[in-house]
């Protein structure tokens, strides 16, 4: 008994002494360990802002952080901010890592690419082109050949600026008129915008005042005009049916007020739907019941990728056909036809140009061939259609184009029904 008590006492005493020793050591080393950890964490921050005295992580205190902005660190002496960004919107799904230093003057003082997993490099010099830029990013552009990656990079940097501007940490940079026009074009004619949000157009030469610039959508869904007015430039989108909408450079819809600009644009725009009427008619005739009376629909107010629409009446039954030209792989336009019955059910879905999907993708999608892929849409309505149905692994661009085509076709059908009603 005595020996047992002694054992307990000795072991307890040793434990207590060791605990005191550990507590003392911890009291000495804990602050140093914390400082080491902080120094390690700020190592990458110092790399982009070497003159920094220290950093304070203010990520939690900021509002409206987009997914791309991972961390925001304020330099303690007021030199600016260092932000850690990550984006998966590039070509592959691996995250691109960016550390950017934005000075108190609202300009990028340094930028570092910390993670890049694309097979195609957009060049070591590309990030450096952002140094000295303010939030307007006036002097940088995307890189041809690595459009997705460079756009993702640019968007991430834009997100970083937006966070600082929205939280009143830096002042917004002044954008040039050219930049503002480029940003307004997707609003004026969304149908010509690719999956990256960039309008895919070709410039039109020989414009006359008051039109200063003109662009034709590569997918033939309309024209975009920049019209000079007393209140400044207005961007007017004219769709394939000759219907226009106008926006000022702040992104406000001025269709109702900028009537002269709208009229000038409409007058200048060739009527795409009319120009291609014969060819489109030949395309849809086979899809309608034999002997049906086919009428080309005019003045359709959709600004999507719809390029033509028809109705066909045979006896009591009326069907509608919508031709769309969404942008697919490599920003190539793909021509598609969707035929609806009067209730908005898809009767047929056809691709009038080559679908850039190979056989194995259908197998991945548990579909036997292209016709089976298309057949799955028959019978659907806007309510029963799902974006997931178009997905084909490995053919994302084409699948997105199909998806875009359906959304455009459903919208066009609803507008047609409104007109008919």
């Amino acid at each position: 008994m005595k020996e047992n008590i002694k054992s307990v006492v000795v072991l307890t005493a040793i434990c207590l002494v060791v605990a005191v020793l550990l507590a003392y050591t911890n009291s000495i080393t804990a602050p140093i360990i914390e400082a080491n950890k902080a120094a390690k964490a700020s190592g990458s921050l110092l790399e982009v802002m070497p003159e920094a005295a220290g950093f304070e992580n203010i990520t939690e205190t900021l509002a409206n952080l987009p997914a791309t902005v991972k961390e925001v660190h304020a330099e303690t002496s007021g030199l600016g901010h260092v932000m850690i960004l990550g984006t998966t919107t590039q070509f592959s799904s691996d995250e691109m890592g960016i550390t950017v230093a934005i000075g108190a003057d609202g300009k990028i003082s340094n930028v570092l690419l910390t993670g890049y997993y694309e097979s195609k490099d957009f060049g070591a010099d590309y990030p450096a082109t952002y140094i000295g830029q303010d939030s307007a990013l006036g002097g940088v552009d995307t890189v041809a050949g690595t459009t997705f990656s460079s756009t993702a990079f640019k968007d991430a940097i834009t997100d970083a600026f937006n966070v600082l501007i929205e939280n009143n940490l830096v002042a917004a940079g002044q954008k040039s008129e050219e930049q503002l026009i480029a940003e307004t074009m997707p609003l004026a004619l969304p149908g010509c915008v690719n999956s990256l949000g960039n309008p895919v157009t070709v410039p039109v030469e020989g414009v006359a005042a008051p039109i200063t610039q003109a662009f034709k959508a590569k997918n033939n869904c309309g024209y975009i005009y920049v019209v000079s007015t007393d209140a400044g430039s207005v961007v007017v989108g004219v769709n394939a049916f000759g219907v226009a909408q106008a926006f000022d450079l702040e992104g406000n819809d001025v269709t109702a007020t900028a009537t002269d600009a709208v009229a000038a644009a409409v007058a200048a725009a060739p009527a795409i739907a009319t120009e291609n009427l014969e060819a489109n008619l030949a395309t849809v005739t086979n899809s309608f019941p034999e002997g049906a009376e086919i009428v080309a629909i005019e003045g359709l107010g959709t600004f999507t990728d719809v390029v033509a629409a028809f109705s066909a009446t045979a006896g009591e039954e009326t069907q509608y056909a919508v031709i769309t030209m969404p942008l697919g792989y490599g920003d190539e336009a793909m021509k598609m036809l969707t035929v609806f019955n009067a209730n908005g059910e898809v009767l047929a879905y056809k691709t009038l140009s080559e679908m850039i999907i190979h056989g194995e993708y259908y197998a991945d999608h548990q579909l036997t061939d292209e016709s089976a892929y298309k057949a799955q849409f028959v019978g659907l309505t806007e309510g029963t259609y799902s974006d997931d149905m178009t997905l084909v692994a490995g053919a994302t661009m084409t699948a997105n184009a199909v998806n875009s085509s359906f959304h455009s076709a459903f919208e066009a059908f609803n507008l047609i029904k409104e007109v008919v009603a």
Binding site: K6, V10, L11, I14, V18, L21, T25, T29, I33
Partner: protein
């Protein structure tokens, strides 16, 4: 003279790694490079010396029944202290050693020396034993780390050996190479010091299986004596 013998025996004659075959796990794990091997050796030596001194000092106070838990608490305490100090003052080495630093607690060399030497000898002798064994452990690690790093990576302590770099055999830095080099070193030490290395401190006294063992004499002792 006796004290010098205690100090020196751990270096070659009773080298804990190459003769007593203790601490094999950290030896194989941390000898991929010289720097990590040296760091592990120094950390283990510090713990070994301190724990030997404390256990020797407390040898009369610690009841036999709870001696192993007491040793573990003392050793774990010193390991934690070393861990905290390394994390504070040598963070790179701390990161390099990783989990093996904490695993010094269960290093057979430390518990083995506490059980076989410190509990039977005075503080000075135990400290010398700790120093000798620590140096022996460190030397073995550094030699093994040097061989593996030079042959396996063509570098030494991170310094590139230009002539050897193209001929590096990377498997030597991997686990199979560790066993290979370890075996070769044991063979070499056995060859060089054949008959001179003695494991005389293995005996029934202090053997954890002593109570359950019915043999009249310790087989290990008999084998050593008949050599």
């Amino acid at each position: 003279m006796k004290k010098l013998g205690i100090l020196l025996k751990g270096i070659i004659k009773e080298n804990p790694v190459l003769v007593l075959l203790l601490g094999t796990c950290p030896t194989l794990a941390t000898t991929t490079g010289v720097v990590s091997a040296l760091a592990m050796g120094i950390a283990a030596t510090a713990v070994l010396i301190c724990s030997n001194i404390v256990i020797s000092a407390l040898r009369k106070a610690i009841p036999d029944k709870v001696r192993i838990p007491c040793y573990i608490v003392v050793i774990a305490g010193f390991v934690s202290v070393v861990q905290m100090l390394m994390q504070a003052y040598f963070p790179d080495l701390y990161d390099m050693l990783g989990v093996y630093l904490a695993l010094i607690v269960v290093n057979c060399i430390i518990l083995g020396r506490a059980e076989m030497f410190a509990r039977k000898n005075g503080i000075i002798d135990s400290a010398l034993d700790g120093i000798g064994m620590g140096i022996g452990f460190t030397l073995a690690l550094v030699v093994m780390g040097s061989i593996r790093e030079i042959i396996g990576a063509g570098t030494w302590a991170g310094i590139e050996l230009t002539a050897l770099k193209p001929y590096a055999i990377s498997i030597v830095t991997a686990a199979p190479g560790g066993f290979l080099v370890f075996g070769c070193l044991i063979a070499l030490v056995n060859k060089l010091f054949s008959g001179k290395s003695k494991k005389t401190e293995f005996s029934c006294e202090g053997c954890p299986n002593a109570a359950a063992c019915n043999k009249a004499t310790c087989e290990t002792e008999v084998k050593e004596e008949t050599k």
